[in-house]
């Protein structure tokens, strides 16, 4: 309980002390980008400071084209109230666009604020497919991945490999629920069964052994982890500790990022399959981008979450240059519409488009984690198993229930 008070105080302090140093005369010609993410909790290493650095990289590469760009950032601590407060304050103080925002519950809260203030909102961090479904908004683009795309790629691949009965261990909030729902749908559609699910409190759980034991008792062929970040790391480590896999049960990490694999270690993580839309060693363009980012990220390599900030910031700035700063400040919806009208292309995700419901389309890749013997060094962790083309990777436009889609 003390924890909550402490975090609330820190959040207020972080939001209040934002550095807006530039003079008023410059303000009209300055685009302000607010990077809002988890900088102290379980999702910090996925984006956090690295997400901010990738945004700054995009600004640097975009260069000077007649207007100034400022990047500010804050920690939302995975709490919807803190996130919504910072977003409201930022938009009121002249921040033009908010990017990143992992943690689906926070991502959805900020979605409402952006719409209310008619500002632009580029979500790269949240997973819930509701952002382009029931809760879609003309002010929002959902950039890189969502629960539907993960479920379709990883879930369907597991069922194909014979994993036709599932039990879920789910983080008890919007993201976990969405991931469990979307994966369950694919499992059932492929002829499999969902035996049950256990939902654990987020973010206050570190010991998963009890939930693993419950899952094991249901005798599924696959245990699906509808969680992420530090929770997923602990889940997988403890599954190996309690011999879950030795009893023939497969583990499905439904949302796993490269830093997670790094933290678990190849010894334990080898053989897991997972879905990402970016891998630093995927092709020449991703390798070139990784090389350019090296001075900022130092010993880290970019991952799907952090690099999406680079991609969306770059595309956003191109749209601003195209329509002019004054017009862009007048209406967030106009900015988003301009972004949807322009084709995207960058080194992270290659060429792509943005759909009317706000979904950015890119291919999804099914990877398998290498064994320690296959890995040629630090960060050499993935083998590409399968590619789902952009047009098939995401939920069909007419199935999301988004009000922007005219059927």
């Amino acid at each position: 309980m003390m924890n909550i008070d402490r975090r609330a105080v820190l959040g207020a302090a972080a939001a209040g002390a934002l550095p807006f140093r530039s003079a008023r005369s410059q303000a009209a010609n300055t685009i302000r980008i607010g990077v809002l993410n988890d900088q102290s909790g379980p999702y910090r290493d996925l984006s956090g400071p690295y997400g901010v650095m990738c945004t700054q990289q995009a600004v640097a590469e975009f260069g000077q084209r007649g207007f100034n760009v400022e990047v500010v950032n804050a920690d939302h601590q995975n709490r919807p109230d803190v996130g919504a407060n910072i977003a409201r304050q930022w938009y009121d103080q002249g921040v033009d666009v908010i990017v990143d925002v992992p943690t689906s519950s926070v991502g959805l809260a900020v979605n409402n604020v952006a719409r209310e203030k008619n500002k632009a909102y580029l979500n790269t961090g949240s997973a819930t497919s509701d952002l382009t479904g029931a809760q879609c908004s003309p002010n929002t683009i959902h950039w890189m991945y969502d629960t539907y795309m993960l479920a379709k790629s990883t879930g369907a691949a597991m069922v194909r490999a014979g994993g036709d009965s599932w039990y879920f261990i789910t983080a008890d909030y919007a993201f976990g629920h969405a991931l469990e729902r979307d994966t369950g749908n694919f499992v059932r559609a492929a002829g499999g069964r969902v035996l049950g699910a256990v939902r654990y409190p987020f973010p206050a759980t570190t010991d998963f052994s009890s939930f693993l034991l419950q899952a094991q008792a249901a005798r599924p062929k696959v245990i699906g982890f509808a969680n992420a970040g530090a929770d997923l790391i602990n889940s997988i480590k403890q599954a190996s500790e309690f011999g879950v896999t030795r009893r023939g049960i497969k583990l499905a990490a439904l949302l796993m990022f490269l830093p997670d694999v790094h933290s678990i270690g190849l010894e334990t993580a080898q053989g897991l399959v997972l879905t990402e839309s970016f891998y630093w060693d995927l092709n020449d363009r991703t390798r070139a981008l990784t090389e350019r980012l090296r001075p900022r990220l130092r010993d880290q390599v970019p991952n799907m979450a952090s690099v999406a900030n680079y991609s969306c910031t770059l595309h956003y700035l191109k749209a601003i240059a195209d329509m002019g700063v004054a017009a862009s400040k007048a209406s967030g919806v106009d900015v988003i519409n301009r972004m949807k009208a322009m084709p995207c292309d960058d080194d992270a995700f290659g060429p792509g488009t943005i759909r009317v419901d706000g979904r950015k389309l890119c291919p999804s890749y099914l990877f398998e984690v290498k064994s320690p013997r296959e890995s040629r060094g630090r960060w050499d962790y993935y083998k590409l198993v399968q590619t789902t083309p952009a047009a098939e990777a995401f939920r069909p436009l007419n199935e999301g229930g988004c009000s922007l889609v005219r059927s």
Binding site: R44, E241, S263
Partner: protein, 293 residues
Amino acid sequence: MDFFGIPAPLLFGQLLLGLINGAFYALLSLGLAVIFGMLNVINFTHGAQFMMGAFAAWMLLNFFGIGYWGALLLAPIIVGITGIILERLMIAKLYKLDHLYGLLLTFGIGLIIEGLFRNEFGSSGMPYRIPAELQGAWDLGFMFMPVYRGWVVVVAFFACLATWLVIEKTKIGSYLRAATENPALVQAFGINVPRMMTLTYGAGVALAAFAGVLAAPIYSVNPQMGSNLIIIVFAVVVIGGMGSILGSVLTGFGLGVIEGLTKVFYPEASSTVIFVVMAIVLLARPAGLFGRA
């Protein structure tokens, strides 16, 4: 055989897991109880010191090649020394003031330590392997019991027993207890009370670090591993009765089991159940189960 719709093997497994988690609660709340009992300081840095113990083990391995067994001995000593320095430089100045000042100071220091580690090591954590001697698992029929977890329960039990014996049954322990009651009088008998306080704080911190080393192979070694536990551990201390050694140990194991059962019957409430128990206990017995009013 079923209990309330839960198959018996599953229930036994959960009880055992609850006991394992309880071992950590007991070890941590023991350190807190020792510090509060002797120094009257509510040590909110305890979670950070637990985390430092785990990181010390990781650093000893990665920078000096010293493995788990060495770390089990060295990490508590190293972190204990940092505790002693902290006590001498800052905490000792607050003994005469209200509890609240000590609480705020240690709370702040805990946040700073956690922030520094997060800055340096990130939040997803470092892997730390289970020592070769303790790898593997026993097949108990109703569950797979990792050898390492069994080891944790046994070690935690003996550490608690040893601490209790030192405080209740030895001469040093009797000085300590006397100094708690009337420091001026004990000082008059020629015993260096301030030094004893310092060493007590160091010992309490060392216990936290010891728990940290035990936890390192189970959880990923990450900066927030302590802050997740510390609030629960405080609830344990409050339920057991502030300052009561025996109370904190028994409550630690007991609440681990209660939490474990909640994870089966209503998992969504597993992070809150301990606080519900705390509220009920405080209403019925404001001094805690084993505390003296």
